[in-house]
């Protein structure tokens, strides 16, 4: 997907655009504000990206749209998809393999705690099982692991496997049902169970 420059809601008045390299001098502090993709060093605005510099006259801002890949850095509020590891009543571990729709090359470690307000399930071991694929939102990145919430309607288990025979479970009314062995299972199921496009 091409990354546009214009996410500020108005058409920028372009002084000029040019291909710039990290460290390249763009302007001085007196002329422009230091925008996205730039940094300030002793009064000089420099590019911190490899990309295209854009001077926005109206906003008096210079910014750089990067031409390279965007590194994946999990932040609070981002949606994630992961595979559930070990599950206890008060905690479940998750290997997060997608952050904001992008696959990561090495999973981030995440953890789900039981939600305070939900009455539909008490212990987490009733909500998720090891091996489930869940979708959730990062609510805290301050600790060593990402804290993930599955409270929202769209969040929770998006794919589960039968604990008896290993087949993918289907969602029927309020329960997950195994089409092969007939076992019924409960989970904190996401609204779009089984419908998420997964790479």
């Amino acid at each position: 997907m091409p990354r546009g420059f214009d996410d500020s809601g108005h058409t920028p008045h372009r002084l000029r655009e040019k291909f710039v390299y990290p460290g390249e001098r763009l302007a001085v502090e007196e002329e422009f504000f230091s925008g996205r993709g730039t940094y300030l060093d002793k009064g000089v605005i420099r590019s911190e990206e490899l990309g295209i510099a854009l001077y926005d006259i109206r906003e008096r801002e210079v910014r750089v749209s990067k031409a390279t890949r965007e590194p994946i850095i999990p932040k609070e509020g981002f949606e994630v998809i992961g595979e559930v590891g070990s599950v206890q009543k008060r905690m479940a571990n998750v290997d997060v393999f997608m952050v904001s729709g992008r696959e990561v090359s090495r999973p981030y470690t995440g953890v789900i705690y039981p939600p305070a307000s939900k009455r539909s399930y008490r212990g987490l071991d009733m909500a998720v099982r090891s091996g489930d694929i869940i979708k959730g939102r990062i609510i805290n990145t301050k600790n060593r692991v990402l804290q993930i919430s599955i409270d929202e309607e769209e969040h929770g288990v998006i794919l589960a496997y039968c604990s008896r025979c290993g087949s993918p479970l289907e969602y029927r009314r309020i329960r997950l049902h195994c089409p092969r062995c007939g076992r019924a299972d409960r989970r904190k199921v996401a609204k779009r169970y089984g419908l998420e496009a997964l790479n």
Binding site: Y39, E48, A67
Partner: protein, 239 residues
């Protein structure tokens, strides 16, 4: 002593000439960023992974990211063959490489994370630490990691009584002094400085200036390598 203008080195270069240098970015499909450099007969490949979660986790730092480097030589990179186990030299270069690159990276933006930079020397011909740093900077940019500047590295030294730029293996072994230096060309900062040999203060000064000149030329090659990959790509996307 004949004039410096006429004098030629063992490989035919002038005193202030770099070896032929070629850099290519984005050469490893698995890595997040990568670069390959040939500098004279040096052949080095660098891969960057990250920023990513630090493993093992206890090494992670809560308020900053960590840059981890590894400089390593393939057994077939030297004559005679070397042991595959990392040597003391590899460990030292690993460390100075980290110090050479760290000032360019906004590590404070990646708490609990690591950026891993792996340099593998496939063929060594003198000046591998500098060529590794030069390639690593290109690989970091290729990985999309914001940088304060690129880092270019090059050595200067003294061979047969003359100050020369970019020592090859022979000049390194039989010369009087070798001074590897890494430089952020836009910021004018030196991030690697080592010296081995004997130089007068005046010669040392000339070496530093010459190495910085060399870094400026190498910086142009780094830019070309990145431009080849990304400016062309940008145009394709635009159309």
């Amino acid at each position: 002593m004949s004039s410096n203008e006429e004098w030629r080195r063992v490989d035919g270069r002038r005193w202030d000439e770099l070896r032929e240098i070629r850099i290519e970015s984005g050469v490893l499909p698995n890595a997040d960023g990568s670069a390959y450099i040939e500098m004279g007969r040096n052949k080095i490949i660098v891969g960057v992974y990250g920023p990513r979660e630090m493993h093992p986790k206890h090494l992670a730092r809560p308020h900053t990211g960590i840059l981890r480097c590894r400089y390593h030589m393939a057994p077939f990179s030297t004559e005679p063959r070397r042991s595959p186990a990392p040597s003391r030299r590899d460990m030292e270069i690993t460390m100075v490489m980290r110090y050479a690159l760290e000032p360019a990276i906004f590590l404070e933006r990646y708490p609990r994370s690591t950026i891993d930079v792996y340099a593998e020397v496939l063929q060594a011909d003198g000046g591998t630490r500098c060529a590794s740093i030069t390639a690593a900077a290109v690989a970091l940019a290729d990985a999309g990691i914001p940088l304060k500047d690129l880092v270019a590295a090059c050595s200067a030294g003294k061979y047969e009584g003359r100050i020369v730029l970019d020592l090859n293996d022979h000049e390194d072994k039989y010369g009087e002094a070798d001074l590897p230096l890494a430089y952020m060309p836009n910021l004018g900062s030196i991030t690697l400085l080592q010296m081995d040999g004997l130089l007068s203060p005046e010669e040392l000064d000339r070496c530093i200036n010459l190495a910085i000149e060399g870094c400026r030329k190498i910086y142009e090659v780094q830019r070309e390598a990145l431009k080849r990959k990304y400016e062309a790509k940008k145009e394709v996307e635009g159309n």
